[in-house]
């Protein structure tokens, strides 16, 4: 994947119009800086050359914080109109069935409108069969129960290993085309063989694994599994649709105002200029909210049919059943290594099921995280009669990290080496080296051997608790959505508006846009009105794959810079200076030791406002497109009960120069906590005889809560990363990649035996734990009453 990125992302700006400048790159305070030559579009600002800047790169309160903490931020769930109808979706209770008939006869009498997708069968529990809208939520609920669907139930297959067997009920009769969405791993798509329910293997890699294994002193092989994880955004998928003549305006809980716009226009067959998508506040997404969804199309169709606005909100059960998930996986890794811990070859295979969808591969981490010279990856999707998987925060990577990092720990064990020493042997990245060192210090990695001894003493004393330390690496990629454009308008009265259609899903892009704009104009951030979350504004990226900041911020900076230069033209005569010598600082224009007030200059503009547009220039060449991170964890395992508590996580990451440091730290903490939850708790439970999802709630589908939260130390390393004028990169994905892997390794350390399956439930800890046969049990043997 990184190889693809290296080739695919970088494009030179045509030399005739571009300006060549020299940029220093490197990790601040660590690696020696290097100089590269880059091409800037005409008039664009030169890349940042210092860490200490007036507004960006610093801590700052979130701009929309006051709206959010007072309940005034309006999400799609909150949109309400007089006369609005409430939409609901009727869903299949069966995993696989023909739809024989649908009796809607009672709906008309109830005053309920309905639409029906054109389909003759359902392929998973929760697949949509019909949608309706009624004047109240209660009536809509009654209406759902007034519809009678006759199903012809057919055999289903829901378990990965069963679905792979010849003769398993087929999910699709013919080979399927793979759809890509904005949050997919870049390796998705392409032609792949399909036999039965198995689509694959898709083979990729680098080097020559045969040669690599020949060079190895020894080999080891591990098979590890992961469970299906659902996204569980606190705001479920939802869409409000309102027609004004032939124009459709929707509010959507989405990670992509423009992806929803495109999808609605395409599916409904209406021109793009007739669709407006608003997503001012979005209650989380994590990869599941790129499209309009069938529910969104239903809302639009129902609104059209009823001639009234329709708000359709999925309930928590529907969210679990049909709104996406991170696929499960069975991963096998064979590693060839030398006695000094150097890995010479990796053969990695993954199979997984995304239900009726594709995209389960977990091999990218094996190819891209370390410097393994020879890697062969084979990935297969297996279709099952289950709800579709989709992109989820760093698709494939937490699973891949879990597998590869377990193998590296196994190599360390086999060679009698410290696990971190094995990482150093195989990790050529200077950035990651600094991260390993900083985070190891924060967790107290040097205690590891002493902890091993303390665990032995605890076992000898018959005590139940053990401690473990573990580590793992993060890798992700600088992925850019091309074509982002930002508009800055400065008005005669001195007010400033910055506009882009991008949506705020929690990462804080609204704040980042405000800070960058204000800084270029020498203003406090309060002086800038940030307008985002609407497809009527210039094109912006969907928020997925850690693309938002890197795709948008350089364009924001360019737009604000262009506006500043236009204003400098106005200010120059006042200061008796050339425009190019005018700088903007402290609400003023400065040159020649003279100062002109912002308001005074703005009042002199010739028109009512100055408009400037910034484009996202193609990425600069010459730097590594990967994002690195390293995390360490400290866990306590109760060997009597199998309960694991994560006490502390140290997370070191680098995302170029942080645009808004507060947000970067919050995102790292959030990624870590999702990783803890994934490692310990999350698992979809399917009833095999019926294929039904048994825990579509947030009670028996367990997610981390307040009392499961460890201390999290965040370490953000500043990196002059190149690539764009702000050295801006994302952080959402890398933060979640290593956490579960590090926890599994820490639990393995605590137990003295390897954890091979996620989530790390009490049942699994107890079965993995030879130390369970502790003196506690020996003591029992001397008692009167013993039943084994």
């Amino acid at each position: 994947m990184a190889e693809e990125n290296k080739e695919g992302i970088s494009e030179k700006v045509p030399g005739a119009t571009a300006t060549a400048v020299t940029v220093e790159i490197g990790l601040v305070g660590h690696s020696p800086s290097k100089k590269i030559s880059v091409f800037l579009p005409p008039g664009d600002p030169v890349p940042y050359d210092k860490v200490d800047r007036p507004l960006t790169g610093k801590h700052h309160p979130r701009l929309d914080g006051p709206q959010k903490v007072t309940g005034r931020a309006t999400y799609t769930h909150d949109v309400n109109r007089p006369g609005m109808l409430h939409g609901r979706v009727l869903r299949s209770p069966h995993a696989h069935a023909d739809i024989v008939s649908i009796d809607t006869s009672k709906l008309d009498a109830m005053g309920v409108v309905w639409v029906k997708p054109e389909k003759k069968k359902v392929r998973y529990h929760g697949e949509a069969v019909l949608a309706l809208a009624a004047s109240t939520p209660q009536l809509a609920d009654d209406a759902l129960h007034a519809v009678t669907v006759t199903y012809g139930v057919k055999p289903h297959t829901v378990r990965l290993v069963d679905a792979m067997r010849p003769g398993a009920p087929l999910v699709f009769e013919k080979p399927v085309e793979e759809k890509r969405s904005a949050g997919d791993a870049p390796s998705a798509g392409g032609a792949t063989p399909q036999h039965g329910n198995v689509r694959g293997p898709k083979t990729s890699g680098k080097g020559d694994v045969t040669k690599g294994f020949a060079e190895a002193d020894s080999t080891l092989e591990l098979t590890l599994t992961t469970a299906v994880q659902t996204h569980v955004p606190m705001e479920t998928h939802s869409l409000f649709a309102e027609w004004e003549g032939d124009r459709l305006k929707v509010y959507a809980s989405t990670q992509g105002t423009f992806t929803v716009k495109d999808e609605l226009a395409t599916v409904l067959g209406i021109p793009k200029d007739k669709v407006e998508v608003v997503a001012e506040y979005v209650g989380g997404g994590f990869g599941a909210k790129f499209g309009a969804g069938d529910y969104g199309v239903f809302a639009a169709q129902l609104a059209k049919k009823a001639g009234k606005p329709v708000r359709l909100i999925l309930d928590r059960k529907e969210e679990h059943l049909a709104a996406g998930n991170r696929p499960d996986s069975i991963n096998t890794i064979k590693v060839g290594y030398k006695k000094d811990g150097t890995v010479t070859a990796v053969h990695y295979t993954s199979v997984g099921t995304a239900g009726v969808a594709t995209g389960t591969g977990t091999g990218s981490f094996a190819k891209n995280a370390y410097g393994f010279p020879n890697v062969k990856v084979e990935e297969s999707d297996v279709f099952t009669h289950l709800g579709p998987g989709c992109a989820m925060r760093a698709p494939g990577h937490p699973q891949g990290a879990f597998t590869v990092e377990a193998a590296l720990d196994a190599v360390a064990d086999a060679c009698g080496l410290d696990p971190l020493a094995v990482r150093f042997k195989n990790d050529p990245s200077e950035v990651r080296r600094a991260e390993w060192e900083a985070a190891a210090k924060a967790i107290g990695w040097s205690r590891r051997d002493a902890i091993t001894r303390a665990n032995k003493a605890a076992a000898a004393a018959g005590l139940p608790l053990r401690r473990g330390l573990g580590c793992a690496a993060a890798v992700w990629y600088n992925i850019v959505t091309k074509g982002s454009q930002v508009q800055v308008r400065v008005h005669r009265d001195g007010t400033v508006e910055v506009e882009n259609g991008v949506q705020e899903i929690g990462g804080g892009i609204r704040t980042a846009v405000g800070l960058v704009t204000a800084e270029e104009l020498g203003l406090p951030v309060e002086a800038v009105s940030v307008h985002i979350g609407n497809s009527k504004y210039p094109f912006g990226p969907a928020s997925g794959g850690s693309t938002t900041t890197t795709s948008l911020i350089p364009a924001v900076r360019a737009a604000a810079y262009h506006a500043a230069r236009k204003l400098a033209e106005v200010a120059a005569p006042l200061l008796g200076a050339r425009p190019e010598d005018v700088t903007l600082e402290g609400r003023a224009f400065l040159a020649n030791g003279k100062r002109a007030d912002w308001a005074k200059v703005c009042a002199r503009m010739s028109g009512e406002s100055i408009l400037a547009v910034g484009d996202r220039a193609p990425d600069f060449d010459g730097t590594d497109p990967r994002l690195f991170g390293a995390q360490f964890v400290d866990v306590v395992v109760d060997t009597e009960t199998g309960v694991v508590k994560v006490e502390k996580v140290a997370a070191a990451h680098s995302c170029g120069l942080a645009v808004w440091k507060t947000g970067v730290e919050s995102q790292i903490r959030g990624g870590v906590l999702q990783g803890v939850s994934y490692a310990l708790f999350e698992e979809r439970v399917i009833d095999l005889p019926t294929g039904r999802f048994m825990n579509p709630n947030i009670e028996q589908y367990k997610i981390l809560g307040a009392q499961d939260v460890p201390e999290v130390v965040t370490i953000v390393l500043d990196l002059f990363a190149g690539k764009n004028n702000a050295h801006a990169r994302g952080i959402g994905e890398p933060a979640v990649v290593p956490t579960a892997a590090a926890i599994a390794n820490a639990v393995s350390h605590a137990l003295g035996s390897r954890i091979t399956d996620l989530p790390i439930t009490p049942a699994r800890v107890l079965s993995a734990s030879p130390t369970l046969r502790s003196p506690l049990r020996a003591e029992r043997a001397s008692g009167a009453e013993v039943t084994a």
């Binding site: 709206q67 005034r72 606190m234 309930d315 959030g670 947030i698």
Partner: protein, 211 residues
């Protein structure tokens, strides 16, 4: 500055004035046959006069203001707050009492408004997130949430703050452990918990230096 355009009218009535609704009783009556579940009125007498079958009156003190409405018995407090009274700061994340996004104070005590029938709040005081402060006049706790960046997407945040406000009312100087248990019925998927612990602790212990 954040874009403050709201798709809903700012007065919290979803575009229908109270007067308009009272006038609109006749049409509401018509709508009942098609399933009207709520009606805003000034007094119980008005509701009785409207004679809407199936609706029972509720009078309560909402964020300090007396409110009366007629609701079907199966209406939850969360639905009444959000859909009828326009107070959408109270969120519904799971509708089963597991996530705490719908937390409100009922006579000062945090409860899940999704698991409370609106009629069970009759005669009681209900405080929602809107009653704790406004963007222009945030409470010290709300301010502390912003300062500690105790929010990301913000959807769980109102419930978190309502839970923390009840803790502070009872225990003005809570430890971080106290905060942990106070918000143990509030789930956050973005992972803002550490900020929440910090914010509530700092709001209750103002001498604590903030990082």
């Amino acid at each position: 500055m954040a874009d403050r355009k709201s798709p809903n009218p700012p007065d919290g009535t979803n575009g229908v004035t109270r007067r308009g609704l009272i006038k609109g009783i006749a049409s509401a009556v018509t709508a009942v046959s098609a399933g009207a579940t709520a009606l805003l009125v000034e007094t119980r007498q008005e509701l009785e006069a409207a004679n809407v079958s199936g609706l029972l009156s509720v009078s309560l003190t909402l964020n300090g203001t007396a409110r009366t409405g007629g609701f079907e018995p199966r209406t939850t407090l969360a639905e009444a707050l959000r859909d009828t009274w326009g107070l959408t700061g109270t969120k519904v994340g799971c509708d089963r009492g597991a996530c705490g996004s719908c937390t409100v104070l009922l006579d000062g005590v945090p409860v899940n408004s999704c698991l409370t029938l609106v009629h069970d709040a009759d005669g009681k005081k209900v405080t929602t997130i809107e009653g704790l402060g406004s963007p222009e006049a945030m409470s010290p706790l709300q301010k502390a949430f912003v300062d500690a960046d105790a929010l990301q997407c913000g959807f769980c945040t109102p419930g978190m703050i309502v839970s923390c406000s009840a803790l502070l009312a009872k225990n003005p100087t809570p430890s971080r452990e106290d905060v942990r248990s106070a918000v143990s019925g509030n789930l956050c998927r973005c992972g803002t918990y550490l900020g929440v612990f910090e914010a509530c602790h700092a709001a209750g212990n103002p001498e604590v230096t903030r990082g």
